[in-house]
């Protein structure tokens, strides 16, 4: 009986050897597969070259500074999103959590007169709390992350409006610590905000943690093959819960950066950034099926979207066509990703 079972397997062996023959194209595909940040890096460099040649103003320091500031908030949200997508999840509530957290930070200090560090601490607690709720629903009730965060997105938005009464808190009324993230300093003629630096620090920290600790490996393993991870003795649920908590903390930092960036805390700023964060992750080469991708890819993805929008508007392209272009970019990025995935022999 076993002999018969093995017969088709022998053919399979032959097929494998056949596929082993590598062409230049398959070698490229293999490299892109092994180092997923290469393709977004190429796209970013190409985009900068094209927009730079189309319009001289694009590469001016003041414009580069603008791009970096535009990327700071969505880049931070996308970092949290990357962590969750690496576990084969998705978080539709990142924008809502950030807005809720920013309103709590602003109102606690301005309306309730609490010291600024306490306000930021409360904002952090909101982020962690939201992460705990999402994580609990995903790991304990075994609900799909898409459904959980679709629900919590609405809950957090409603809470934001109920809590703030729809009112915007102006940056001028806030203590300086809250708008610190919008302060700029010059590096070689380019004005960099504290918020951009905070975003970069978070990227470096998370990259080191993901690559250099057992927890990081378990995040990848849990998204890659949860059953294999479980059989290897990893508590997948605990890993997932910690991922949602960590993401929540990052969202609270995003809230702080957002306050500095727009010099205000408004219930209406940033709620539409959920999809932008997913866009950055996807363009950055992280697989929506989990286990594959890097935070640097996401940073490149966020920069690509920022460069596209900025470059197109400098070229005088209507904002609707900018959105159109980003949409095409997503579909191209995922198509390329599918093609690369076939590159594992």
């Amino acid at each position: 009986m076993s002999k018969q079972a093995n017969a088709p397997a022998a053919e399979h062996d032959l097929a494998e050897e056949f596929l082993d023959r590598s062409t230049p194209l398959s070698t490229i595909r293999y490299l892109l597969h092994r180092y997923p940040a290469i393709s977004p890096a190429i796209v970013l460099i190409a985009a900068i070259a094209v927009f730079g040649s189309l319009n001289d103003r694009f590469l001016e320091p003041s414009n580069l500074s603008l791009v970096s500031q535009q990327v700071a908030v969505v880049g931070t949200l996308a970092l949290a999103q990357t962590l969750i997508i690496l576990t084969a999840g998705i978080d539709l509530s990142v924008g809502a959590v950030m807005v809720l957290s920013s309103m709590v930070i602003a109102q606690a200090t301005v309306q309730n007169g609490l010291p600024a560090p306490v306000g930021i601490g409360l904002g952090l607690a909101i982020g962690l709390g939201a992460g705990a709720v999402n994580g609990f629903l995903v790991t304990r009730l075994n609900l799909p992350p898409f459904i959980v965060t679709l629900g919590s997105l609405n809950v957090f938005l409603a809470l934001t409006l109920l809590y703030s009464g729809g009112a915007t808190v102006r940056g001028g009324d806030m203590p300086g610590l809250l708008t610190l993230t919008g302060e700029t300093f010059a590096v070689g003629g380019v004005n960099i905000t504290v918020g951009v630096v905070m975003m970069l620090v978070l990227y470096v920290a998370l990259a080191v943690i993901l690559q250099g600790t057992a927890w990081g490996r378990h995040v990848y393993a849990a998204g890659d093959d949860p059953e294999a991870a479980r059989l290897a003795g990893i508590s997948v649920k605990r890993v997932l819960a910690s991922v949602y908590l960590t993401a929540g903390a990052i969202l609270a930092v995003a809230a702080w950066i957002q306050i500095g960036r727009s010099n205000a805390a408004s219930p209406n700023i940033g709620i539409d950034l959920n999809l932008d964060s997913i866009t950055a992750v996807v363009i950055g080469g992280t697989s929506l099926f989990g286990g594959r991708g890097t935070v640097w890819g996401t940073l490149l993805g966020a920069l690509i979207v920022g460069v596209f929008r900025n470059g197109l508007s400098l070229a005088g392209v209507d904002v609707l066509w900018q959105t159109f272009a980003v949409g095409v970019l997503i579909i191209v990025a995922v198509s390329v990703d599918q093609w690369i995935r076939k590159g594992r022999k």
């Binding site: 009986m1 076993s2 600790t213 057992a214 059953e227 294999a228 991870a229 003795g233 286990g291 022999k345």
Partner: protein, 262 residues
């Protein structure tokens, strides 16, 4: 490697009269098993004979309702797979339970990563990748796995046999007392199955006792020192491949022949 000499030692792993029911379905009906030091014990049986349930009880994936399990003479209670692992029993699953995107060394140490010595490891919890890679290489060459030179290759770039080699190497590296292989060649081709069989023989030669669950009679007769035949939730017999033929084994498996339990 004579069966007769090893059988006289005390069993390293011993299950006595295990009973496990799933609702009204009886999975194990008083099943016993002994594994002696330095042997390869094959477990065969028809579908529904209780092989998997027996193995799951031994590895902590299921908890038996009745009966006892002894490891080196001491009674053990496994509630989760982690419990058996903590006692030095490692299991290789037929599903190639490795994380495809992680490299060979990372998979070998998955869930048991080594940290750097000193505060870098204890406070900052930094991984000691160099040490893990070096030990992974050593482990693979100890097992005679020559096809895996580069331990930094993601497992998804490996063939099925090489992936299973990683899983076997992981079990061998940490299974200090017993290695259990549950249909390790079920997903593999002919050539790859051969590699896994050679690794099983290699494990025995290193003195690690092995339990091999398999459907493949020629494989079983080639590599096993003794063959445990499971039938209707019980042990029907334990036979030696030297004194019994495949036909005998099939007859006992299907109930066409009786054999006294040795």
């Amino acid at each position: 490697m004579s069966t007769d000499s090893t059988s006289r030692d005390a069993p390293i792993l011993e299950a006595t009269s295990l009973v496990k029911t799933f609702g009204r379905v009886v999975g194990l009906d008083g099943a016993s098993l002994e594994l002696y030091p330095g042997e390869v014990l094959a477990v065969i049986g028809d579908n529904g004979a209780g092989k998997s349930t027996l193995i799951k009880c031994l590895t902590g994936a299921e908890v038996p309702d009745e009966g006892e399990i002894r490891l080196e003479g001491r009674r053990v209670h496994f509630k989760r797979p982690q419990d058996s692992r903590a006692h030095g029993i490692e299991t290789v699953y037929q599903t190639l339970a490795v994380a495809p995107a992680l490299d060979v060394a990372a998979n070998l140490f998955l869930g048991r990563e080594l940290r750097k010595p000193g505060p870098l490891g204890t406070v900052l919890r930094a991984l000691d990748k160099k040490r893990m890679r070096r030990q992974a290489k050593e482990e693979l060459s100890n097992l005679g796995i020559s096809t895996l030179q580069d331990v930094t290759v993601p497992v998804e770039n490996l063939s099925g046999g090489q992936r299973q080699a990683v899983a076997v190497a992981r079990a061998a590296a940490f299974g200090s007392k017993v290695v259990v292989l549950d249909e390790p060649t079920a997903a593999l081709g002919v050539r790859e199955s051969r590699q896994v069989l050679e690794m099983i023989a290699g494990l025995r030669d290193r003195g690690v006792p092995v339990i091999l669950i398999s459907h493949d009679m020629p494989q079983v007769f080639e590599v096993a020192d003794r063959i445990h035949i499971q039938r209707l939730g019980k042990r029907a017999a334990t036979i030696s491949p030297r004194t019994h033929s495949m036909t005998d084994a099939v007859a006992i498996m299907t109930g066409a022949a009786q054999e006294s339990v040795s």
